[in-house]
Symmetry: C2
Subunit: 245 residues, 2 copies
DNA sequence: TTGACTAAGTGTTATAGAGCCACTAAGGTA
DNA sequence: TACCTTAGTGGCTCTATAACACTTAGTCAA
């Protein structure tokens, strides 16, 4: 039932402030590979609540400018890292009365994958410090604000899961890379080694890469350089990596 | 920076109503199989806005009672169908300035799978009618309120995708069922036939079912009845169903 | 120049879980 | 008792994976 006869009358009388609305934020787990380790980006909060604590980057939707939730996420990411074209994926939305001291709150969690090279971490007025932390050190060394530890764990699990059947890790590498570098990146995210021939066949047969034409030279046999085709950023393989038998 | 020295002082001065917060709702695509067809539950809105239009069931979080978002979803589902233990999965969260005439709004979309038998659809003060609609008729026959058509499509796509590598459709059947009935349910959701032997091997080798001991008799050879083991409600197969060669 | 070293890249077989299809089994019914 | 229908199986092919030894192409030091 409604006491309003027309929708127009209803909307004119409507004010969101009369209702008990939850607080809404967007948080991100931004992953990259540095120094042969999977790392996640943390910020030190420069604002209440939990001022001074480490947290996943995030914040409020700017209802004046953001046209969607993923825009909010990308805006936050760009502010911290300068990266304009990340791989971004919505992971899960968490809500409850206890997760934020300000009351019933909801956060939409995203994860992002970016290449480490050329990224410069920049603090802003919401965060006094911005750092990369190896995921292995999470949980012990760094105590996160709110429920960010469990949000981080969900994002990490999602990433580790997807490595097994998708090409997602290509988004962690620079524009051109060798197959060995790609394999190493997969291994770092997976947490185990993979067999060289199987890996190369899997990637090459998928047709998600193309040769740049250039070679990477070093102290041994030069390696072909590849780049990702547009459709290769989120390719799904017909089977998972099975791992050792 | 913050003008408050302590978090306590900050929280005492904090009022959510000073901020431009988005509207938050929870919506659900509730699926079931009736009359050999995959169907989705729709409600006719009894409230502004979009009064009188068809929509996915959903509504606001009850900040007094709900302890999490999935509780909100389950509460809505139970109110409409009476089903207390559905399979529920969060699908995606949608937000934007245009999707609701009341302003910048966010909806957390869930999908649910329930067995059709024994379900009684009950209207309440938010919905004047509650009906099952075959998914094939969606888009043409029923025009949904807000952006519910595209939310529905995302949920349907997620379901169709997951059928290929998970046991989710077991949640669409009553407590005991035959392998042929299970196969038929998979085929209905998949939208194509599957090969009998492969299907049985796949399901049985997974160890997600157990025999009830009883048989289903009819006008031909009796069939063994199975029930789902607890871990079988969301089992993931090592490979997808490949389909015809 | 050459041989050792290193990392890139390949040939080949084994394996697991899928598809295919014809077969047998067990009930009803005329 | 013959026949129909659906349940359930045997055994083959096919495909993408794992395994592992092998070849190739560069650097570097003697």
């Amino acid at each position: 039932m409604s006491e309003f006869t027309s929708e127009k009358a209803f909307l004119e009388a409507y004010s969101i402030h009369e209702y008990d609305v939850p607080l809404l934020t967007v948080d991100m787990a931004i992953f990259s590979v540095l120094e042969d380790q999977l790392q996640v980006l943390l910020v030190k909060r420069a604002q209440h609540p939990s001022l001074g604590k480490w947290a996943l980057p995030g914040g409020f939707v700017d209802t004046k400018r953001d046209k969607s939730l993923v825009e909010t996420a990308k805006r936050k990411l760009r502010a911290k890292t300068g990266v304009a074209t990340p791989y971004v994926e919505q992971v899960e939305t968490f809500g409850g009365p206890e997760r934020d001291p300000r009351g019933w709150s909801v956060t939409v969690a995203y994860m992002a994958l970016i290449p480490a090279e050329g990224v410069e971490l920049v603090p802003d007025d919401a965060s006094s410090e911005v750092i990369w932390v190896p995921v292995k050190e999470m949980g012990s060394e760094y105590l996160l604000a709110f429920d960010h530890q469990s949000i981080f764990e969900v994002c990490l699990e999602r990433l580790k899961n997807k490595v097994q059947y998708s090409s997602l890790p290509v988004n962690l590498l620079p524009k051109a890379f060798t197959l060995t570098e790609l394999q190493r990146t997969f291994e770092i995210v997976l947490g185990q080694t993979v067999e060289k021939k199987s890996f190369r066949r899997r990637i090459l047969d998928a047709g998600i890469l193309e040769e740049t034409g250039a070679m990477k030279t070093g102290s041994s046999r030069p390696a072909k350089l590849y780049r990702v085709r547009p459709e290769g950023q989120a390719y799904f393989f017909p089977r998972t990596i099975e791992g050792k038998r």
